[in-house]
C-alpha cells in the first residue's frame, strides 16, 4: 500500500517515449474511402483509396460497381483500370498500374494498384479510365482525379535511365510504416515503353506505357545519411528478387528511426548492371554518407 502511494507520488522527471503509439498505424489513413465515383449508364463505379486520396507513388486501389436500381454490388468478367496523365503539351501517358483488376469476394470489390509518377497541378492532369463488360456490352467511363504529394517518404520512388538507355521506374511499396526491426521490403521495378497513348483511344485498345520488369535483381545497401551517423548501416539485409506478384521482395533492417537511404544496384537477367554504384562501407563520422547513383531516401 505504502509503495503504491509512493510510486504514485513519485513520477518520472522525463516521460518515457510512447513507442507503441509512435509506430502504430494511423487508423484513419488505413481504411479505404471513396476518391471519386463515376456514373456509367445504370451503374455506379466507386474508386477507393486509403484515406480517400491518391498520392504520388504507390497506391492501392479498390473499385466497386453497383447496380443503381438495386444497390447491389456486381461481379463482372473483367474490370479494367487505366490511369492517364495529360500535360499541357497534350502528351498522354500512363503510369505503372494493374490493368486487369482482381476480384475479392470478401469485400465484393476489385483490387489493383497504381503508381502515379507526377503530382497533379496546372500542367499535369490525371484521369482514370474504367471499363467493364456486362452481357457482352462494353461500358466505359472516365473521371478526373487529384494526385497529391506523398507525405510518407516510405513510398518514395525514383526513375532512372539504365546503362541500356531505357527508362525505368523503381517505386517502394512496403513497408509503409517501417519498424526498428527486420522489415520485408517490397519495390516495383518498371520499364517505360516509348509509345504514348492517344487520349481518345477506348480502354480496350489502350496500352500502358510502363510494364513490370522480370527476372532482374536489385542489390540493397541501407545506410543512415546523417553526417553524425557516419555512414551507419544494418546487418542481415537481403537483396530484392522478383516474387510471384511481380514485385521485388527483400529484407531491410532498420536499427533506429530517422532518415535512411536505400542504396540500390539493379542487374538485368543476364547479370549486367543497369544502374547503381557500390557504396563505401567505411565508417565516416562527421561526413554525410555517400550514396549510390541509384537510391531512395526514406524516413520514419
Amino acid at each position: 500500500m505504502v509503495f503504491i502511494c509512493l510510486s504514485a507520488f513519485y513520477s518520472c522527471t522525463i516521460d518515457k517515449t510512447n513507442f507503441k503509439q509512435e509506430t502504430s498505424i494511423d487508423e484513419e489513413k488505413n481504411s479505404f474511402e471513396e476518391v471519386v465515383s463515376i456514373n456509367i449508364d445504370d451503374y455506379k463505379v466507386y474508386i477507393e483509396a486509403l484515406g480517400g486520396q491518391f498520392y504520388k507513388g504507390y497506391n492501392k486501389v479498390k473499385v466497386k460497381i453497383e447496380d443503381k436500381s438495386s444497390g447491389e454490388k456486381l461481379r463482372f468478367s473483367e474490370v479494367n483500370f487505366l490511369p492517364i496523365l495529360t500535360n499541357s503539351d497534350t502528351i498522354l501517358e500512363s503510369c505503372p498500374h494493374l490493368y486487369e483488376m482482381e476480384y475479392h469476394s470478401e469485400d465484393q470489390s476489385y483490387h489493383g494498384y497504381v503508381i502515379y509518377t507526377e503530382v497533379s497541378h496546372t500542367e499535369f492532369d490525371w484521369r482514370i479510365n474504367i471499363g467493364f463488360t456486362i452481357n457482352g456490352n462494353i461500358y466505359s467511363g472516365k473521371e478526373h482525379i487529384v494526385v497529391k504529394e506523398q507525405p510518407n517518404k516510405n513510398l518514395n520512388m525514383v526513375s532512372f535511365t539504365g546503362h541500356d538507355d531505357k527508362e525505368y521506374l523503381l517505386a517502394l511499396i512496403s513497408p509503409t510504416r517501417p519498424k526498428v526491426a527486420e522489415n520485408n521490403l517490397i519495390a516495383g521495378l518498371f520499364i517505360k515503353k516509348l509509345n504514348s497513348i492517344d487520349g481518345d483511344k477506348t480502354i480496350d485498345e489502350a496500352d500502358s506505357s510502363y510494364s513490370i520488369v522480370n527476372h532482374h535483381k536489385i542489390l540493397l545497401d541501407p545506410r543512415m545519411p546523417e553526417p553524425s551517423m557516419g555512414n551507419h548501416s544494418s546487418p542481415n539485409n537481403e537483396d530484392l528478387e522478383q516474387a510471384i506478384d511481380g514485385f521485388y521482395h527483400g529484407i531491410v533492417n532498420y536499427t533506429m528511426t530517422g532518415n535512411w537511404t536505400l542504396n540500390f544496384m539493379v542487374f538485368n537477367e543476364k547479370g549486367d548492371l543497369l544502374k547503381g554504384t557500390e557504396v563505401s562501407e567505411d565508417f565516416t563520422p562527421g561526413i554525410e554518407g555517400e550514396k549510390s547513383e541509384l537510391y531512395i531516401d526514406i524516413l520514419f
Binding site: 505504502v2 509503495f3 509512493l6 510510486s7 513519485y10 518520472c12 522527471t13 522525463i14 518515457k16 517515449t17 513507442f19 509512435e22 519498424k179 526498428v180 526491426a181 527486420e182 543512415m224 546523417e226 553526417p227 553524425s228 551517423m229 557516419g230 555512414n231 551507419h232 548501416s233 544494418s234 546487418p235 542481415n236 533492417n253 536499427t255 533506429m256 528511426t257 530517422g258 532518415n259 562501407e281 565508417f283 563520422p285 562527421g286 524516413l299
Partner: protein
Amino acid sequence: MRTLLIGLLFVTVNAYSQRDTNKKRDTIIAPIQLKEVVLSTQIDAKIQNQLKKSSTIDELLSTSESISFIKRGAYAWEPLLNNMSSERSSITIDGMHIFGACTDKMDPITSYMESNSIDDIEIQSGQEGNMQGATIAGSIDLKRKKTAFSEYRLWELMYETGYESNNNQLFKLAKLSFSTNKWATDATFSYRKADNYYDGKGNEVKNSQFNKINSSLGVAYKSSAFSSLRFDAILDVAKDVGFPALPMDLWLSRALITSLSYTQLLFGKENYIWNTKAYFNTIEHYMDDTTRPENLVHMDMPGWSTTYGVLSNLTIDKEISTTEIQFNAYNNQSIAEMHMYPQDRSKQTMFAYSWPWISTFYSGIAIHHLLKISEKNKLSAGMNLGAHYNHSKYPEFNWIFYPDAPKEKTRFLPSFTINYTHYSTHNLSFSLGSGYGHRAPSVSEGYGYYIYNSFDRYDYIGNPNLKNEISYEINASANYNKKKIKVSAKANYFYIENYIIGKILSLGSPMNYQSVGVKGYTSIAHARLFNFSLQVQYDVLNNLIWISNLGYSRAKDDRGKNLPFIRPLNYSSLLRFNQGKLGIQTSLNGDAKHIDFSPEYGESPSSAFMIWNLSADYTFFIHTIKNTVQIGIENILSENYTTYADWGNIPRMGRNLYTSIKITF
C-alpha cells in the same frame, strides 16, 4: 517449480551454512529485550584503518582487498569484486536488489548511498555470496545503520563537515537518531559538491565535477516484545556529474529506495529470527552531452529501472550450528532510450531503445548451514536455487542481430558452496572451500542494443541466446594470529564456463560516431581467474600499528590471452600511531606496472605508481559534545598517474589537502 524448490529444501536442510555463528545480528533484533543500546562498532573499526574519516562509500569499499574499481571520473566508481565486473556480483542494500538505470554503468548501486547511513558492508567472495541470489564473483551487501530501541529516551545528533582542496569539494553530513522503548528513528542527510579535480601535474580534468544529495529515513516500531516493524526510505539525487572518460555527463539521476520489514523472534527465542521485507525502488537517470562541444551529434539517453521484491530470512542460531534460509523474489524493469538529433533540428529525431523494456523476474531460495564438528573443525555449506525469467517488450530490436532470438527466456540458476576450516593450533587455522554456480546474462549482455563502450570504443549488442555463465571455484586461506602479529593469506581460483565478453561482430556498423565497430556479447568457452592476497598486521608498540597488504591476480581467456581489468600486483602499507586523543597515520599504496594487460580487449599498459598519504586527527570534548578534527594530505608527492582501470586513461587526482570536523551531541 515451487514444489521442486521446496522438495530440495528438505533434502538439503542438513547442509551447512557458511555464516559465522558470531555474525552480528540485525540491530533491530538484539535490543528487543535490551537494557541498553547496542550500536554497531563495525564501521568505526573500518574507518580506523582508513586514512580519511569522512570517506565516501567508494573509499570505504576500497579498503577491502577483494575490491577494485573501474573509474570513469571522480564519482560513482564501478566496484569489481575478485576482478570481475559488476554484473558478476550481486550488489544489494540490506538485501534489496537494485539495478542501475544507466547503460554506461554511470550509476553502480553503491553510488546511491552515502557513508553516514552505512553501518557495514558485507562482502562475500564467490558462491559464499549466493544468499542474495545468483552470483559468480560474490556479493556486496550495504547494510544501513539501524538504531536500537532503548528503555529510556535517547537522542544522538552527529554533524560533520569538511573540505577537500584539490577539487574544491565541500561536504556536509548529518545524522539524527532517536529511540525509545517503542520507537527508533534514524535520519540522515548529506550534501557533497565538488568542482573539477586537478591531476598530478596540475592540469584540470574537465568534466569531473559532481553534486550529490542523499537523505534517508528509517522508522522502527516495536509491535510486541518479540517483533518489530520497520520502514526505510532513501532518496538520492545526483546532478551535474561529470564523467571525463565518457562522451557524456550526467544531468540528473534520482533514486528512491523504500522497504517495509517485519522481524519476529519465533517462539519468543532470540536465536530464531525471522525477518521479512517487501521493497520497491525506482531509479531514473538522464545523461547530458550539451557541455561537450566536441560531440557531432546531440543525444538524449534517458534510462529507468524499477524493481520490487520480497525477501524472507529465517536464521536459527544454535550452540553448535547456525542455519539460515532465505527466499528472494524480485521483478525489475529496465528501459533505456536513445534519441539522436540531426544537425538540422527540424528533421525528425533518430530513436532506438538501448534497453527495449526488459523485464527480469527472479525467485530463489538459499540455505546456508554451519556446523562446529569439534573444537578444531568447522564445516559450512550452502546452496541457492534460482529461477530467472526475462521478457523483452520490443524483441524486434534484438531480432535485427539475432533473428531467431526468443521474446522470453527462463533459466535455472543452481549454486552450491562448501567450506571446511581447521584450527591446527590456537593461533593457526586453515580453510579450504569450493563452489559451483550459474548466473544469467545481465540486461545489457542479453538485450543491450548499440550500447557505446568508450573504453574500447565499440558499440555493444546483447545476445538473448547467451548461455548461463557457470563458475567452478576453489578457495583457500590461512590465518596466523598471535598477540602482536596477524597474518592472513587468501587465494581463490575461478574456472568460468561460457564467460561472457564482447567480441567483434562481422555484421553491422557502428551507430555512435565515436565508435569504431560493433561488438556482440559472446560466450567464450571458458575463462580462468586467480586472486591472491596477503595481509600482515603488526603491533610494533602499544600505540603503533603497521598494516600491509599485497595483492596479485591473473586471468586468461580460452585462448590463453589476458582478460581485461585484472589488477596488476598491488600493495599498501599503513602505519598508525595513537597517543591519547591524537592519531597520526601515514600510508603508501601503489600498483606495479601493468604487464599482463589485454590488447585483445582494448587495454593499453599502465605504468607503476606509488602514492604517499598522511593524516592526523584529534578528538576533544566540549562539555558532553565530542569533536573530532582531521587534517590530511593525499598523494603528497603529487604523482601523475592512471591506473589499469581508468577509462580513457584519465589521470587520477594529484595532491589533495583535506580537513573535516565531526561533532557528536
